[in-house]
């Protein structure tokens, strides 16, 4: 039995390390699942405050699952069947422009449809799909992070892609 030397996360060095490695993942996880309207950044802060309050009872190995569970529960308390909306960046302004107004219109229409279609995915599909496409995480990594099988991840991402395509292309 290997006993951990750092039995809890009260020490500032450990706590700040945990924040620096995990906070962005927690943030992205909440965002993908619940969208931008429920202030994922604030929930990350609240979850870490809760971790600090309970620091004596949480070992560094448990911190990750503690954070994800706490943050998720905080979100669930607030979700009142809101539509999930993820904000997107404007298409980068170019120094030159050879794009016709029609093209620019079509692109912005496309992004609107995309946003709606993302909102219509299941939480599980959206989460896995965006972890893969935005953060470029491998199927194996996502499976480990979500605690599901690799097959399950593949199914979710593929399902998401097909559903998005059908909805956006209007088939």
């Amino acid at each position: 039995m290997v006993q951990s030397l750092n039995s809890n996360v009260c020490e500032e060095r450990i706590f700040s390390n945990i924040f620096k490695t995990l906070s962005k993942d927690v943030h992205n996880f909440l965002r993908y699942k619940y969208g931008d309207n429920l202030n994922p950044k604030d929930k990350v802060q609240e979850a870490f405050i809760k971790l600090w309050d309970n620091c004596k009872n949480v070992s560094p190995e448990k911190a990750k699952s503690f954070l994800f569970t706490t943050a998720n529960n905080m979100m669930l308390n607030e979700v009142k069947h809101q539509k999930v909306v993820l904000k997107h960046q404007q298409v980068k302004p170019k120094h030159y422009t050879n794009e016709t107004p029609e093209f620019i219109m079509e692109e912005s229409e496309y992004m609107k449809k995309y946003q709606r279609a993302l909102g219509n995915l299941t939480e599980a599909q959206r989460e896995a799909f965006l972890m893969n496409r935005i953060e470029g995480k491998k199927h194996k990594e996502i499976a480990a992070e979500l605690g599901i099988s690799r097959k399950g991840v593949e199914k979710r991402i593929y399902g998401a892609l097909e559903k998005l395509r059908k909805e956006i292309d209007g088939i």
């Binding site: 924040f19 906070s23 496409r133 892609l161 292309d169």
Partner: protein, 306 residues
């Protein structure tokens, strides 16, 4: 079934050339490619780990003060504790250089500080940054860890490394500035030669050049300054930098929260703002973009596009 397998391999980045050709021949290929490309636009690039950590730290230290209940101690305990504390500090000071413990210097928002390293090199640390080095073990461990922004004036003939989690900068008697944010990394060399490692590649940066990474884009630029403007002119300067970075720098320098309304945070900004006059600085970053600002309270400013 074949198609599903192809797509899954493509999504996981494991597809080989023959499979890729087959995948590209699918009638739906263009749709998939566009979906995948545009998904990246849903990224929230505004999440700044250092900024969020600073925010959390303020909340926690406030709570710490509140929860520290004023316990009545016995009269003899207090003087005894004082003696113990003095002894402890004395011991710590005596032993610290021997054990080569890590020294950390941190600056809060709207603060700057200057540090002298054991080899007489000077480091100027900008707001909300931290620098770590091994004081006692400097001879074997000539490296510093940096989070945030700092200007280094390295003593002649002294070599050391600056580690940031975006890249590593190695120096040999020179003057340079390192700025490291979540989606932004900049190294500017003012004198001598700097060698930096970014994503496994080694780049040599001569005096008067600066190396910038914005998102995934690498830009090599020139500078005419002899010192970073934040250290000698009391200004923060930017050249073709996303507006979001400018806002975050403003928040760090004035320890204030800025919210934006309908403002394009990706547009590139060239200009500077003063570090000692908030009103003037606000004008400098809003007027060129035709933005309006409104001070909601002492800690919050809202910028609006008309």
């Amino acid at each position: 079934m074949k198609k599903e397998l192809l797509i899954q391999k493509w999504l996981d980045g494991e597809i080989n050339d023959a499979e890729l050709t087959a995948f590209k021949a699918l009638p739906e290929y263009a749709s998939y490619a566009k979906l995948s490309e545009k998904a990246k636009l849903f990224e929230d690039t505004s999440y700044d780990v250092d900024f969020e950590y600073g925010k959390l730290n303020t909340i926690i230290s406030e709570r710490r003060q509140k929860t520290a209940t004023p316990v009545k101690t016995l009269n003899w305990l207090k003087p005894l504790m004082r003696v113990a504390a003095i002894l402890l500090v004395g011991l710590a000071i005596y032993y610290a250089p021997l054990y080569g413990d890590t020294t950390t210097v941190k600056t809060l928002a709207s603060n700057q500080t200057t540090i002298q390293l054991p080899d007489n090199s000077n480091v100027k640390l900008n707001a909300s940054s931290s620098l770590q080095y091994k004081k006692g073990d400097w001879e074997n461990n000539r490296e510093v860890n940096l989070v945030g922004e700092a200007y280094f004036d390295v003593a002649k003939g002294s070599q050391f490394d600056v580690n940031t989690w975006l890249g590593k900068v190695s120096v040999l008697g020179t003057q340079f500035n390192v700025k490291q944010r979540v989606n932004y990394f900049e190294v500017t060399c003012y004198e001598g030669l700097v060698s930096l490692k970014y994503k496994g590649k080694e780049i040599k940066l001569p005096a008067g050049k600066s190396f910038k990474v914005i998102g995934n884009e690498i830009i090599v630029d020139e500078t005419k300054d002899s010192l970073p403007s934040w250290s000698n002119k009391n200004m923060s300067s930017f050249k073709s930098v996303p507006y979001s970075e400018v806002i975050q720098e403003f928040e760090r320098q004035y320890n204030i929260k800025v919210e934006t309304n309908n403002v394009d945070m990706t547009q590139l900004f060239t200009g500077s703002f003063a570090l000692n006059d908030q009103e003037l600085a606000l004008k400098a970053i809003t007027l060129p973009l035709e933005l309006k600002y409104n001070k909601e309270n002492k800690n919050k400013i809202v910028l609006t596009k008309e």
